[in-house]
């Protein structure tokens, strides 16, 4: 029995249901309970059939609507049917036939207006609320000017009883609705806050990485300027000798290195900024091996500075795939950034092909991922609990799925994690 009740509760008010659906189910249950109570009550005191049928009609209607709503899932239609049948037809009938404004019915009018506001949206809500206000005000005036057409409760005690019951029903119903609302509001606020924090951390992580990259780009400049100065000095003193020539070659090599880094950084920044500006995909044949090579070249000095080696293996003859170079760069960047944040001393990337399917694997020797979090890392807003965020991974999965592939992550035996990305190209 208890189990059945719990199952009922989950079905009608479960957390996974939308707020409006839960409100609607609350409303239907209230209708069911009220109808049942007043029907049985009137049956007991031996009121005539004329007074009783309406209550049982309400019970049957509530039960029917509850059943129909959970079956059809067409809640918007249920809301409208309910509002029309209950608020526009049953309430006026009850008002005229069962006690008018001396009973508890006016409180039900407030209830009707509020629930209409809760359940409907936009123009529809305004129209229905306006109609209800007009209807209920007219009913009050009608009862005042034509008292002979409206039945009244003559027994003072029954008026009190009626008021108490309706007061309890309405206030409990409205409180439940408000509580559900506020609870949802708080929950959403918390989620928003968490998401905002994660986005902030991710941006911080990224800008730190960019700062380190630009730092690494100063190094070749330092070498070049110092060697050039020294070479000039040596030539002035003793003319060019073997050592001077070697120094000049060093300058040229460093200039080459710097040019490559600058080129890679520029392309990366461009693809990121284009992505955020247009948010449109541009599908071209993309050489994933080349993307990986550029990225690793760019991040290698940063990894070394952090005490990790970063290596890349690209299989020969990787076919180009149809894809968005900016998105794919972002995917590779995100997984590498995560690996950089967690690795102890070693990160290995490999780009392999089998037929037209490309697999990118990235292994690090960090502490691995909490097994409890592992199934959820690709959901938006899940992170490893430390300050480093996993928000990048949900984006990675979106990109991989778009490119006809998928992404998976597992803890390696011993230590670290291995991310595998499969890409087949976009159609």
């Amino acid at each position: 029995m208890l189990l059945l009740l719990r199952k009922m509760r989950n079905m009608l008010f479960g957390r996974e249901l939308e707020l409006r659906v839960r409100l609607y189910n609350i409303l239907a249950c209230i209708g069911l309970a009220t109808g049942l109570y007043s029907g049985v009550y009137r049956l007991v005191i031996g009121a005539g059939l004329r007074h009783i049928w309406l209550h049982f009609a309400l019970v049957i209607f509530s039960a029917l609507m509850l059943w129909y709503a959970t079956k059809s899932k067409n809640y918007q239609r249920c809301y409208v049917i309910t509002i029309v049948v209950v608020f526009f037809i049953i309430f006026p009938i009850v008002f005229v036939n069962l006690g008018s404004y001396t009973g508890g019915i006016p409180m039900f009018f407030v209830f009707a207006v509020l629930f209409t506001v809760f359940m409907l949206v936009g123009k529809k809500m305004f129209v229905f609320v306006a109609l209800e206000l007009l209807l209920y005000v007219s009913l009050f005036l009608y009862a005042y000017f034509f008292p002979e057409n409206v039945s009244r409760i003559s027994n003072e005690f029954i008026i009190v009883l009626d008021n108490i019951v309706v007061f309890l029903v309405v206030s409990i119903g409205l409180s439940a609705a408000m509580a559900a609302h506020i609870h949802l509001f708080d929950k959403q606020n918390k989620e928003l806050e968490a998401a905002r924090k994660q986005t902030e951390e991710y941006a911080k992580m990224k800008s730190e990485l960019f700062a380190e990259m630009s730092h690494e780009m100063r190094t070749p400049l330092t070498v070049m300027s110092a060697y050039a100065q020294f070479a000039v000095e040596q030539i002035r003193i003793s003319g060019a000798n073997e050592q001077t020539l070697a120094d000049l070659s060093t300058i040229s090599e460093e200039a080459q290195r710097l040019a490559e880094m600058a080129d890679g950084t520029l392309k990366m920044l461009l693809s990121f900024s284009e992505k955020t500006q247009t948010n449109k995909s541009e599908v071209t044949p993309v050489d994933v091996g080349d993307l990986a090579t550029r990225l690793i070249r760019l991040l290698k000095p940063v990894a070394q500075r952090r005490g990790s080696s970063l290596s890349l293996f690209v299989e020969n003859g990787i076919p180009k795939i149809q894809g968005d170079a900016g998105e794919l760069t972002q995917l590779l960047w995100n997984i590498t950034q995560n690996a950089l944040a967690h690795a102890r001393s070693n990160i290995e990337m490999a780009v392999l092909a089998s037929g037209a399917t490309i697999t990118v694997t990235l292994k690090d020797d960090g502490g691995g991922i909490d097994p409890k979090l592992l199934p959820h890392v690709f959901e938006r807003g899940v992170s490893d609990g430390a300050e480093k965020s996993g928000i990048g991974l949900s984006v990675c999965r979106e990109i991989a799925l778009k490119h006809g592939g998928d992404i998976s992550i597992q803890n390696e035996m011993g230590a670290g994690t291995c991310v595998s990305v499969i890409l087949r190209g976009r159609c």
Binding site: H215, T222, V223, A226, Y227, Q229, F230, E233, E254, G307
Partner: protein, 199 residues
């Protein structure tokens, strides 16, 4: 020209390290080189430098943290930061932490050299030797100088010409170096010496 000064260079970029070493050796200074803080610690077991040049971002830590360690073993040795961190806040942090000078990369090598030579003139020439006499495990100035030339693959005769000593004196110096460094292997002495002094 010999200045008898000892400079410790702590720099993780081998190219910059080598250039600075060549430049300072050209001024007649003895140069101890280290690419990591760990290596720098090892060098400090051999000799007390007269000037230390520290990079800040190093693979095994921060040069600023290493500074306090350096002060404990070497007292008031002048310290010059040579680093790519060029923001005003970085410079202040380096100086407040106890650095005596700060040069940001890319740097002017004439200026760098001039500042080092300025520090060398400031510290008395017998600093290193007096420190060495207090601590018998450290190398004396002539021992260090002989050892540094030996790591460049010079014969005893060539070293003798460089340091204006007799060949037999150089030999005595070297055996004293091997003793202090705990190098016993007769066959491979020179290679082990290189291991202890080179990066």
């Amino acid at each position: 020209m010999s200045n008898d000064g000892i400079v410790l260079l702590l720099e993780d970029n081998i190219k910059i390290l080598n250039l600075n070493r060549r430049m300072l050796e050209g001024e007649g200074l003895m140069v101890l080189v280290a690419k990591t803080i760990a290596e720098a610690r090892e060098r400090l077991k051999l000799a007390i430098p007269d000037v230390a040049v520290l990079d800040i971002m190093l693979p095994d830590g921060s040069g600023i943290d290493f500074l306090s360690e350096l002060r404990q073993t070497c007292g008031n040795v002048p310290v010059l930061f040579l680093t790519a961190k060029a923001e005003r806040a970085d410079i202040l942090a380096g100086l407040v932490a106890g650095g005596n000078d700060y040069i940001s990369k890319p740097y002017d090598i004439d200026e760098f050299r001039a500042r080092i030579m300025g520090f060398i003139r400031l510290v008395s020439c017998d600093r290193a030797s007096s420190a060495a006499s207090k601590n018998a495990s450290l190398l004396s100035v002539s021992e260090l100088s002989v050892a540094l030339f030996a790591t460049k693959g010079m014969s005893n005769k060539e070293i003798a010409e460089k340091v204006y000593l007799s060949e037999s004196r150089v030999k005595t110096c070297l055996s004293s170096v091997y003793r202090k460094l705990g190098i016993a292997d007769e066959q491979d002495k020179r290679r082990m010496l290189v291991d202890r002094l080179e990066v």
